[in-house]
Symmetry: C2
Subunit: 273 residues, 2 copies
């Protein structure tokens, strides 16, 4: 099954655009897990147990695992293995390298780690993305317009009247022969999201920047989803997984996840009225 078809199937089955970011920081997990052999995995396991029915996807930012070295890569592997099949696993790795190297990254994330999708950086151009595109059952979310202030340094530069991030979006649309390309667009730029959705009307968009980064949820849903109110994944990391520092952390994460999922669906219905 093509990646985009599987994504739509999961979104519909669960009636959810929610993506939960497992940016698990060893310094932020509850006391009671500190005695565990692999506290990061134990934390993730409890969060996954309590939230997998609500989430269309988990996004796992590799930095939070690499910072713990070999141990971290072990937690990352165990976490991916533990996630049930009906949730899309996005390795938020933001890789980007020349073809020969990109082939290794594709194997590392798709074959070795068994992620369903990966985030990629477009700076090296088409041939850095193609080794990933070949896996048509796997997904690529390519950085287009990011949620941070530095997005203006290069992404918002103008090329013949178009912004660089728009040129990137157009190129990704052109590369999407296998139905597995998507974009990453930060929720902090709803107006720009509108323009990107017009360029990439049938591409999934992964949207971080809700919550801690201050993105506007209603506008994000309105402009970021496709004409059916689908094809977008709304990510929240810290806002969900650190809802409580106490023993009730997993239930608190569930509550936060459920609230966000429902709020997203309210705005989806409003859009479709």
């Amino acid at each position: 099954m093509k990646f985009v078809e599987r994504l739509i199937e999961i979104i519909r089955k669960k009636n959810s655009l929610l993506c939960i970011g497992l940016d698990t920081d060893i310094e932020n997990i509850p006391e009671k897990l500190s005695g565990e052999k692999d506290p990061v995995f134990s934390f993730n396991k409890d969060i996954i147990d309590k939230t997998h029915d609500l989430a269309a996807a988990y996004k796992i930012n590799t930095a939070f695992y690499e910072v713990n070295g070999v141990k971290g890569w072990t937690s990352l592997t165990k976490t991916i293995d533990y996630i049930p099949d009906d949730v899309i696993i996005i390795a938020d790795a933001k890789r980007g390298d020349i073809g020969n190297t990109a082939k290794r990254y594709a194997r590392a994330f798709f074959t070795e780690l068994k992620a369903d999708a990966v985030t990629l950086n477009p700076y090296l151009g088409s041939d850095s993305l193609e080794p990933f595109i070949e896996y048509d059952d796997k997904g690529l979310f390519i950085l287009c317009l990011t949620s941070n202030k530095g997005a203006q340094d290069f992404q918002k530069l103008k090329i013949d009247g178009k912004y660089l991030y728009q040129v990137v979006a157009e190129k990704v649309v052109e590369l999407n022969k296998n139905g597995n390309c998507g974009l990453v667009v930060g929720a902090t730029f709803p107006e720009e999201m509108k323009g990107i959705r017009e360029i990439a009307h049938n591409l999934p968009i992964l949207i971080p920047g809700i919550g801690a980064q201050g993105g506007d949820l209603e506008k994000t849903i309105y402009f970021g989803t496709d004409s059916k109110g689908e094809l977008a994944l709304i990510n929240s990391s810290r806002g969900i997984i650190y809802s409580s520092k106490g023993d009730d952390f997993a239930q608190a994460a569930r509550n936060a996840a459920e609230e966000l999922k429902n709020q997203i669906n309210i705005f989806r219905r409003k859009k479709n009225l």
Copy 2:
């Protein structure tokens, strides 16, 4: 000591601009190592033993390690630990993420893995680079113009008469307050290298693309080094480490490294005449 000062000291002491790429592929290492517990590390160890006196730097491409999962990250860690202090260790990771995440990557590569420098992708802008810049004894090599065909897709787009890669070079010059920023420029574009060296006259440039990728060595040295014939690292990976598939692989790598080091120095002298 500031990163750039340490780099110059090593370049002068060894009279070498050579950077050896440890892009070690388990499928390309000699038979006789296949029985070892960690064949990738054993291969690297032998290569390092035979070449460390010739090299100013080792560049370790993380993709070739991540493709082996937890085992690969172990080989990467052991390799970095094994490299002597008088060789700069560049983690060729090409990371790039928002500030909160970039902090973790900086810690992962500088504190946890103990690399001396890292390659970074500029697409997310200044605030994605700043957490690395704060480590003034560590180096950042930021992708400017890469050696692959896809470099033309975005890097060679024109913004108000300037190419994107030139805008990137200018921004990195501006960010270089701590004497630790450098650029990555592929050897396959010698004319463009000239222009970049004019913008970034006091920045180290890491130059891949010699050998398998077909860059012209003489022009690369002429345009890529600074006015003293220094401040550049010329990388060769496959051309050195896979010189022989037999039991003599480490000696063959040494021979190839020595030849390239000497050839580089011939062109440096020619430039300075």
